[in-house]
């Protein structure tokens, strides 16, 4: 059961990483990157590292996304 | 042309990394070389030496507190650099 869940989560990670690279719209790319960070937080829980899971959910998915969105609100949205 | 060179070197790096993974010790095996006497000592003596239950907090703030102080300095320098870049005059 755990093997199935791990494989599924890891393949989601790769799909999200490729999708970030392929998306033309910067806002969509940032939202996909936030989803990537959330999947990463679940993987930290699978690896028995709850400290990093909390930190990643707060910093990776929250603060980094906010900073990126603040940047594209100051600049432009199209690539 | 530039793209071809980039892809070639990326493929080279990727092949090297994947070949390294094939030679790595097994994932999650208790006899791995990383699980030596260092983490054992932290887990056995951590509670009595620092008084914490969460060993990670104990290592972060007690055993390696100097490391954390340096890391706080990195945050300080980062915010100073970002502010000086954003508030600089345009000319």
């Amino acid at each position: 059961m755990s093997i199935v869940l791990d494989t599924l989560l890891l393949s989601f990670l790769i799909v999200c990483a490729v999708a970030v690279a392929r998306t033309r719209d910067l806002l969509s790319a940032i939202i996909i990157y936030a989803a990537y960070s959330l999947i990463m937080a679940v993987i930290w829980l699978q690896l028995e590292a709850p400290d990093i899971a909390i930190t990643e959910a707060a910093i990776g998915a929250g603060v980094t996304t906010l900073l990126l969105i603040a940047t594209i609100s100051k600049t432009r949205r199209e690539e | 042309m530039r793209l071809v060179i980039i892809l070639f070197f990326l493929a080279l790096i990727g092949f090297t990394l994947v070949a390294t993974v094939a030679e790595m010790p097994l994932y999650g095996h208790p006899e791995n070389p990383t699980n030596n006497e260092v983490p054992e000592r932290f887990i056995e003596k951590g509670t009595e030496e620092t008084g914490v239950m969460n060993i990670i907090g104990g290592i972060l703030v007690d055993y390696r507190a100097f490391d954390t102080l340096g890391e706080a300095t990195v945050l300080f320098v980062a915010i100073a650099a970002a502010l000086s870049a954003l508030k600089a005059h345009s000319h």
Binding site: Y36, L47, K74 | A22, L26, R64, V74, A81
Partner: protein
Amino acid sequence: MIEVALRLFENKYFLVAMILFIIGFHTLLTHSNLIKKVIGMNIMDTAIFLFFVSIGYVDGAVAPIIEPGVEQAYINPLPTVLILTGIVVAVSVTAFALSLIVKLYESYGTLDAEEIMRIRSNEP
């Protein structure tokens, strides 16, 4: 060949970390958009974090939060501590890069790295 494939599947966390590193590196090198470059750098960061933490994992062990009177195996706490500081350093580097991007956009009016290079080469 099958042995190698089985070994790779057994070490799937390491393999995925390497693949993510390559994807991030590719994004960083081939995209000329600066924000895409920053996201690629972040993906490379998380790939290295994943590699480090999965080295410290032990089968059947739990997170190192001591319960008195319970005998059980704990995972290796050292990689977790190193990565915890690494995440915060990564976000500060990202913030600095983004502030530089905002200033670059103010003075050149574009986010494209190659276009900025062209404008700079035309300047006296």
